[in-house]
């Protein structure tokens, strides 16, 4: 009796093991830490890849839970795309430690660190946590600048081709297609925002600085006094007077940030609160990178264009 049960368990395990090892899914399994990177991987990988994102589009990418299902996802991955610059420092290392997957080890062809090759901004001259939770490698929210995205997608295409040479032509063609579309869109977005050059915007966190730099806008101040530090009444009073003096009329918040704080400030400055996610998938009809940027640029241009 005991023997039969043992044999059955062994058989079940064997089947499970062989099932996992069988290459019935010829697609390359790509795991991206955040949905924006996943969207780029889909654009480049097309039908040759199967893409999963670890973080939800609506959640704070700095504070994702290192939940065990992510270990399984990473264990089966052929390629891992991370933002880098310490964005995932709080949750990716323990996942990778448990995932025991050599294919996505640091330095392997299956590991893409998106921040490599990006001209990082706000790299601190000194490491000092009294200035808030500043990433030592610079501001990690660089994908809201389409020019940075061009660097990242080229890197993704390169790594995918190394991991999966038989589809290299597909990746090359997709890269060409995506970059062309992005260039056309970039020109469009620049035209849309051109009338507002020098306009001052307020954000909750320093997550739209690369975007502002690209399109000639200025992030006047953030609602957080320092990165990762909750807004204090004194700081908000300062933001309000700065906004009044500069006639700033737009506050951008992401789905996971405290909208109430933004609303309070907006009431006193006659500003508009714009809900703009940095991640595709956080809103209906915004499922890829270009749609997300379209939404960002259009919403912002509309708000800046409104008469006070």
């Amino acid at each position: 009796m005991k023997n039969t049960i043992l044999r059955r368990v062994a058989a079940a395990l064997l089947i499970a093991a062989s099932g996992a090892a069988l290459p019935f899914a010829a697609k390359i399994s790509v795991v991206a830490t955040t949905p924006d990177l996943a969207a780029l991987a889909r654009a480049i990988g097309g039908d040759a890849v199967d893409v999963k994102a670890l973080a939800k589009p609506t959640e704070d990418p700095h504070f994702v839970d290192a939940k065990p299902s992510h270990i399984v996802t990473l264990n089966r991955a052929d390629v891992l795309i991370e933002g880098g610059a310490e964005l995932e420092l709080g949750w990716l290392p323990p996942l990778l430690e448990s995932a025991r997957n050599d294919k996505i080890a640091a330095g392997a062809p299956g590991r893409v660190v998106a921040s490599q090759g990006i001209r990082m901004i706000e790299v601190p001259a000194t490491f000092d946590r009294s200035k808030g939770d500043v990433h030592s490698l610079g501001n990690p929210h660089f994908l809201v600048d389409p020019v940075n995205v061009k660097i990242v997608v080229a890197q993704i295409a390169d790594h995918l081709s190394q991991v999966d040479p038989k589809s290299a032509e597909t990746y090359k063609a997709n890269l060409q297609k995506f970059t062309t579309a992005l260039d056309a869109k970039l020109a469009e977005w620049q035209k849309q925002l051109a009338p507002y050059k020098g306009a001052k915007i307020v954000t909750y966190h320093r997550d739209f600085v690369y975007f502002a730099n690209r399109f000639g806008l200025e992030v006047l101040e953030t609602l957080e006094p320092k990165p990762g530090i909750a807004p204090s009444p004194a700081h908000l009073a300062k933001v309000i007077s700065m906004m009044q003096a500069a006639k700033a009329r737009v506050i951008i918040v992401q789905p996971y940030q405290n909208r109430k704080t933004a609303e309070t400030v907006a009431r006193q400055t006659n500003a508009a609160v714009l809900d703009i996610p940095e991640q595709p998938g956080a809103m209906k009809n915004v499922s890829d990178y270009i749609q997300m940027m379209d939404y960002l640029v259009t919403t912002l241009a509309n708000a800046l264009g409104e008469k006070p």
């Binding site: 704070d60 025991r100 921040s115 490599q116 706000e122 660097i151």
Partner: protein, 447 residues
């Protein structure tokens, strides 16, 4: 920087030479020196400007106008080959029990009325080479007399590239028994060690020198099987060949060495997890520990445990809040005590007997809004009757509500009240304030 220094040396040398030449003509010594000083000031200023401009020339100034999508040279990440962190936990408070150590039994609990510094920990970790990662925790602690104690809490290697989803850990480390035993006090949700863990594994938890193999099962959901093999001696192998064993079995401890593989400590564990919904995760585990005890030459101990952890986190969580989580563990111990001489009354022989202990705790945490967590924990531990009385095996329960404020991830302030009931002793009330700070690398927590 080297270039700057070279340039500066050259300029200064030129100044000295030119002023020297000038001195041979008409200038008085004083004026000559003044001029030299002035020119040095100019040189220093220009150097300062250059240094400042280098500091200012962070790439962002150019980013706005940089139209090309040419990749930059890779950014150097990290500052060394090792992450270094330092965590200090300190407690302050009062208890109705004057002998606080008899009430707060964990090694990293508050130890006295007033102030305790039970845990100042240096954490080191990094990639050893392409095959191993290395970790170490060195703990410094002040006892109730303010004397410093040092313990090598953990020092182990972890393989990174074994085939078949296997992984080996080797060195000195916490046994992966249940949920909280392998965690460091810094990641506990309460000021003190749960009673059940203290009862089974002693004040420091179950850790020893050994090796552990783990297999990540090829299932579509998370399932991991582990087997640890450890030395069974020492204070941190409490229910086994520990020096404190006589407190458990009441007899004179047998001097028994390691004669066969059976004298080692075995710790198997299986854990599994599933995402119940997009925002809810459940993690279940079952563990056991089998090893010799020193009540007699062939005596054995078995400990069994089950653990559950559930967490809900909002889909729009900001800095990880709001969330609700629940963590529970149940443990049983079967301690087969051999016939032994009583430690208290040397003439008396205690019969061979089976000592059964059980314990459980359950905690519920509510992350109300960013940085604020309210929690409540219920604690219970009990032992059956034996041929002797052991304080260590007496029935006991405890209720602990607490509230924690995290100014950032690098510091925390916690206030906890303990309502204690010890069978045969009575009720006690304690109020503890805990403060923690963290410097350097913050090793990310496992789920």
């Amino acid at each position: 920087m080297k270039k700057l220094v070279q340039a500066a040396t050259a300029v200064v040398a030129a100044m000295i030479w030119s002023s020297h030449v000038a001195a041979q003509t008409t200038d008085s010594t004083a004026r000559r020196q003044q001029r030299m000083l002035d020119s040095l000031v100019i040189v220093i200023k220009s150097l300062q400007d250059r240094i400042d401009s280098l500091g200012r020339a962070r790439p962002d100034s150019a980013a706005a106008t940089q139209p090309s999508a040419a990749p930059q040279a890779p950014v150097r990440s990290g500052s060394g080959y090792m992450n270094i962190g330092f965590v200090t936990l300190a407690d302050a408070g009062w208890s109705s029990e004057p002998d606080v150590g008899s009430l707060q039994v964990g090694d990293h609990d508050p130890a006295v009325r007033g102030f305790t510094l039970p845990n100042a920990e240096v954490t080191l970790d990094g990639a050893v080479d392409p095959y191993f990662r290395g970790f170490s925790n060195i703990v410094l602690k002040l006892d109730s007399n303010g004397e410093t104690g040092v313990e090598l809490e953990e020092a182990y290697l972890l393989t990174t590239s074994l085939p078949w989803n296997l992984q080996i850990k080797a060195g000195q480390f916490f046994a992966e028994f249940g949920r909280q035993n392998p965690q460091h006090p810094h990641s506990w949700a309460f000021v003190d060690q749960p009673l059940a863990l203290n009862r089974m594994f002693g004040p420091d938890g179950l850790r020893s020198q050994g090796a552990r193999i783990s297999w990540l099962l090829p299932t579509n959901w998370y399932a991991e099987a582990m087997l640890g093999v450890f030395n069974s001696a020492g204070g941190t192998a409490f229910s086994f060949r520990s020096d404190e064993s006589s407190e458990i079995h009441g007899g004179v401890s047998e001097e028994r060495g390691v004669k066969s593989g059976g004298d080692l400590l075995l710790v198997p564990r299986i854990a599994t997890s599933m995402d119940l919904t997009a925002t809810q995760v459940l993690l279940l585990g079952a563990s056991a520990a089998f090893g010799p005890n020193n009540s007699g030459p062939n005596a054995k101990t078995q400990v069994y445990g089950a653990d559950a952890y559930w967490k809900w986190k909002s889909a729009t969580a900001h800095q990880g809040f709001p969330f609700v989580s629940s963590q529970s563990e149940v443990l049983f111990r079967r301690y087969d005590a051999a016939e032994r001489q009583s430690a208290e009354n040397p003439g008396v022989t205690l019969p061979s007997e089976r000592l059964r202990d059980s314990g459980a705790y359950s905690e519920l945490l509510w992350g109300i809004k960013p940085r604020w967590v309210a929690g409540i924990r219920g604690d219970y531990a009990a032992g059956d009757d034996a041929s002797f009385d052991a304080v260590l095996r007496a029935d006991r329960y405890r209720m602990s509500p607490n509230v924690t404020w995290y100014p950032t991830e690098f510091s925390k302030l916690r206030l906890q009240y303990n309502y204690d009931h010890r069978s045969g002793i009575g009720r006690d009330h304690s109020l503890w304030f805990q403060f923690e700070f963290l410097l350097g690398a913050h090793a990310a927590h496992k789920f």
